[in-house]
């Protein structure tokens, strides 16, 4: 499955939710789709699932436009943050309905997962807790066997144990039935090692798209005496800088280049930390 995004923009009431976003992703792969609140993640995922029309540009899957294209959309399972099920239906009915819409629906897996997440199939969606609805969404996502499976914040209301079950399932499924998983989440530290590729959105724009492998050399933290650090990062783009007692930490885009200098140390930046730095950078820009 190949997703091709070309110059996609989305306007909401004259405001840009997405600005000229372009990229290509190809599966099977587990992809982390990150960014802080309001960065445009959900808007993009809605576009990808054909739920809303783009203002400009197009999204193609295997060369075909996704909007109003049931033949393509049949291969996509989109588990949104909420509103995935009909309130008046029971869990069993929801799962039965899914059978009609996902051609590769795995009934056996669905039943197994019902037990794993301890759901009662006779319960109505209306009466479920947040965590239970999330679990039902997770079951739908995995049992759909859809070539492109999108989870947007899939575990609201789930505890650590249940989230762990989700990660285990994700790896299991990726080994047994590889597909393109797109996972958008706030709990980056927990999930960061699951990603093979990372996309980060910021203020409606694609900030970066890297494989986990490229990641370590792409963004680094340079630490040391302030003057030494300044000298080492002279011609690099800085994301974040912090000085404490003459010691400086500078997070920079190394973009694969080796950073050299006297008395400095280089450290990897975790995804979680990067997002913190990015939001600090954004705030500074707003203050200016």
């Amino acid at each position: 499955m190949k997703i091709d995004v070309r110059n996609v923009s989305k306007l909401y009431k004259q405001k840009h939710a997405l600005k000229n976003v372009s990229f290509t992703i190809e599966g099977p792969k587990i992809i982390g789709f990150l960014g802080h609140n309001g960065a445009g993640k959900t808007t993009f995922l809605n576009l990808l699932a054909g739920l809303i029309p783009a203002t400009e540009g197009h999204i193609r899957i295997n060369g075909e436009n996704v909007f109003n294209a049931p033949a393509i959309l049949r291969n996509i399972c989109f588990v949104a943050e909420s509103g995935n099920f009909q309130e008046d239906m029971t869990i069993a009915q929801c799962l039965k309905a899914n059978r009609f819409f996902y051609p590769k629906w795995d009934e056996q897996l669905a039943n197994e997962l019902l037990q794993v997440f301890a759901l009662n199939p006779k319960d109505k969606v209306r009466n479920l807790s947040k965590g239970m609805v999330s679990a039902l969404g997770i079951i739908t996502g995995f049992a759909s066997h859809a070539a492109i499976t999108i989870f947007d914040e899939p575990y609201i209301g789930l505890d650590v144990a249940a989230r762990n079950t989700f990660y285990d399932l994700l790896i299991d499924q990726q080994i047994e039935h590889p597909r393109l998983f797109l996972l958008s989440t706030h709990l980056i530290d927990e999930a960061s090692e699951l990603f093979e590729e990372i996309l980060i959105l910021q203020e409606g724009e694609l900030l970066l798209q890297k494989t986990a492998e490229q990641w370590d050399q792409y963004i680094v933290a340079v630490k040391g005496n302030a003057q030494d650090v300044e000298r080492a990062i002279l011609d690099l783009e800085v994301i974040y800088k912090h000085i404490f007692m003459h010691d400086m930490t500078a997070v920079v885009y190394a973009k694969g280049r080796a950073i050299e200098g006297e008395n400095i140390t280089l450290e990897n930046v975790s995804l979680q930390d990067l997002l913190v730095y990015l939001s600090k950078q954004q705030k500074e820009r707003l203050v200016k």
């Binding site: 792969k29 285990d168 790896i171 080994i175």
Partner: protein, 119 residues
Amino acid sequence: MIYSLSNEKPIFQQIRERVEDAILDGQLQSEDRIPSTNEFAKEYQINPATAGKGVNELVEKGVIYKKRGVGMFVSTDARKILIAERKENFFAQHIEPLKKEAVRLGISDEELQNMLQRG
């Protein structure tokens, strides 16, 4: 989970080192079967592709080899290969900084040698 992986080094590197350590410590003997990529992925909750990268580096070095459809095994020369490699790293990682620090503290070569014998 007996070991958990830390955040400092890339995960695939940690996996590679864990297997290497087990071979050097004799926990893994030649012709022992080692876990598959998928087993590593599940054990540490990491992407199968990442786990594969660590394992593949070991295959490239000749430390382990794949038997089709059976699994992966420690090769006969594994220990030899690893010891040679580690010796080289040992100099760069430990001796050089040791020397540097000794100079900084004004420790003479003779004094250093005595220290080494004591340690």
